[in-house]
């Protein structure tokens, strides 16, 4: 059917084209570049190898957990419980290791507990029908409560060498956690683009009714996405356990906002239907660079928080504007 007449408006003017180009590329590309230039001008300590690897190492667990969040978010859900969930896995596994447990059992345990807690979140949303925002907020508090009950103010530390290697080791000059994080992003990207898992995350987040009508088991897949998120939280917990060489009651407090912020900054839509795994990497690096720059410029933790908060709101605002324009005319 020939429909060119309806398809396109008149040729856009130049500034609209340039704007579209910037917009279609990742929303972060420009600010990230500007930021790096400004910071390297402000400080001669920024572009050192040590500093760059510090930044990357700091982003690792956020990337690992963010990839899971990107799937959940693409399917139009959210998981706020990731910080507490990670702390709970760390408390259980850390205590087990502290008492002389075997490394491979500890690793399996971290992944299994993470997966299990993720599935619990998923079932609360799909079987009980509790909106994800509230279900996972409830679990944020619940898991944290369990951590506090379990550790009761104590800290467990001194883990076997292999665990600290996961968090602190290097291969050549590259930190092991960075290798793990980039592998997770790469696998996440393959799953997103080439498998049914990614396809159904998009379909469910984009038009849940259409997905249901097409015979997709929407509840099952939503649960799978939460389970996948949990599995990656388990992996992140192992890496963080190694990085800190400790587990304590307040580990991972506020992690969820950092994770969600980076995922949104990277270009994954908060409203579902579109995700990007390499965007997660980019988003987390942006936040880390910003934090690092603020530290080098002498700003304290509170100012860092102010900047992170503002950045998140702006990122969501940019997305909302774009989403309205792109999807506005074609409902459903």
């Amino acid at each position: 059917m020939s429909t060119e007449t309806v398809a396109r408006p008149a040729e856009p003017s130049l500034h609209i084209r340039v704007w579209r180009l910037i917009e279609r590329s990742n929303i972060l590309t420009i600010p990230l570049i500007v930021l790096i230039i400004v910071m390297s001008l402000l400080s001669d300590r920024f572009f050192t190898e040590v500093n760059i690897y510090n930044i990357l190492r700091a982003t690792s667990i956020y990337i690992i957990i963010g990839v899971g969040q990107a799937f959940v978010m693409t399917s139009r859900n959210i998981d706020l419980s990731v910080g507490s969930m990670m702390a709970l896995v760390m408390a259980l596994v850390g205590t087990y290791l502290f008492n002389g447990g075997a490394i491979w059992i500890a690793i399996l345990m971290a992944l299994a507990v993470g997966l299990g807690l993720g599935l619990v979140n998923g079932l609360l949303v799909t079987i009980l029908g509790v909106p994800a925002l509230l279900a996972t907020l409830g679990m944020l508090v619940t898991y944290r409560g369990l951590v506090n009950e379990y550790l009761y103010g104590t800290t467990v530390s001194r883990f076997p060498e292999f665990i600290t290697y996961l968090g602190q080791g290097t291969v050549g000059p590259v930190p092991v956690p960075v290798i793990i994080a980039l592998s997770v992003a790469a696998i996440g990207s393959l799953l997103y683009h080439f498998t049914r898992m990614g396809r159904y995350a998009v379909a469910i987040g984009g038009n849940e009714e259409a997905a249901t009508l097409a015979g997709i088991n929407v509840r099952l897949w939503k649960t799978i996405f939460f389970g996948f998120q949990g599995l990656l939280v388990g992996l992140g917990a192992l890496v963080f356990l190694g990085r800190l060489d400790a587990a304590h009651p307040t580990v991972g407090v506020g992690l969820e906002l950092h994770v969600i912020g980076g995922v949104v900054l990277g270009g994954t839509l908060l409203f579902g239907g579109k995700g990007t795994m390499w965007g997660v990497v980019l988003g987390m690096v942006l936040i880390a660079v910003l934090n690092n720059g603020l530290i080098l410029a002498g700003a304290g933790f509170f100012i860092q928080q102010v900047f992170l908060g503002i950045l998140l709101v702006l990122a969501v605002a940019a997305q909302t504007a774009r989403h309205r324009r792109e999807m506005g005319s074609s409902g459903g």
Binding site: T3, R199, G206
Partner: protein
């Protein structure tokens, strides 16, 4: 045939093609949504190769009837028969497995996916053998190629077919994609809820040609439309619903647009039922 006498006795008008078994038949279907009686004892039969036009005012129950046949809703009363045998469908998936394909009033496309993604939604083939089955790796090249084939066969031309998600397409192109999906998979019956609603004159004509061609190959269709001109151009038989009841069921060449309008608005036919 006399449309008026059929209207006052809808049950007696049931066999315009006596002799052939209907591909699909609904008998005495009723459906309530809380206080609203959306369908009230409706019986309709569709025969091989027939295009049935389903018309009626807003809220008459047309979409509800379509959704019952496509497995989205369960009827409160009545039965559905396919090839003369009783069917129980509790999900749209079951209807689709039996070859019943639907273009819903709101299209049911995933805007973020391309046409091929939508055409194969829920039925994606895997590739790379065992590994592909394990990780559910989509056979995108196959889906793209088949989609191109289907679109060519139906003479649907969409610029950016292979690269653009459907939210970048016009209403007509999206409609065409939804229809292509139904025609591609439908082996038994097509259900089209206002397939020309978003379309200009030329595209409506093209959609009607597609429907006609599909039905001439033996697959019947039920088409909902508010455009009586289209209905009379493409349909063999016309059923009018009014306030959830069937008030007219007759061959298209045995009635006229004026008469159909009279049944739609209730100036004819309703009294006998009240």
């Amino acid at each position: 045939m006399n449309g008026k006498s059929m209207a006052t006795q809808p049950a007696a008008a049931e066999a315009p093609r006596s002799g052939t078994t209907p591909v699909l038949e609904v008998r005495d279907i009723s459906k309530n949504f809380e206080a609203v009686r959306a369908l009230d004892g409706v019986s309709v039969a569709v025969h091989p190769g027939e295009v049935l036009g389903l018309v009626g005012d807003n809220g008459a129950g047309k979409s509800t009837l379509i959704k019952i046949i496509s497995g989205v809703y369960q009827p409160d009363e009545g039965e559905i028969l396919m090839d003369g045998r009783t069917l129980a469908m509790s999900t749209p998936h079951e209807a689709r497995e039996r070859g019943i394909e639907t273009v819903y009033q709101h299209l049911a496309l995933v805007n973020q996916l391309r046409v091929d993604g939508n055409l194969y939604l829920g039925r994606e083939p895997n590739r790379f053998g065992f590994l592909g089955d394990l990780f559910q790796i989509l056979d995108t090249p196959l889906m793209k190629a088949k989609t191109k084939e289907v679109m060519a066969r139906l003479h649907i031309r969409i610029p950016g077919l292979e690269s653009e998600p459907v939210h970048r397409m016009s209403g007509g192109q999206r409609q065409a994609a939804a229809i292509a999906r139904a025609v591609h998979w439908g082996s038994k019956l097509l259900l089209l809820d206002e397939p020309t609603a978003a379309l200009g004159a030329e595209q409506s004509a093209e959609v009607q040609r597609i429907i006609r061609r599909t039905c001439d190959s033996g697959i019947p269709a039920i088409v909902i439309s508010h455009n009586l001109e289209h209905v009379f151009q493409v349909c063999d038989r016309i059923v009018v619903l009014r306030l959830g009841r069937k008030v007219l069921d007759c061959r298209a060449d045995a009635t006229s647009p004026d008469e159909v309008v009279a049944y739609i608005t209730g100036s004819r036919g309703a009294v006998g039922h009240a």
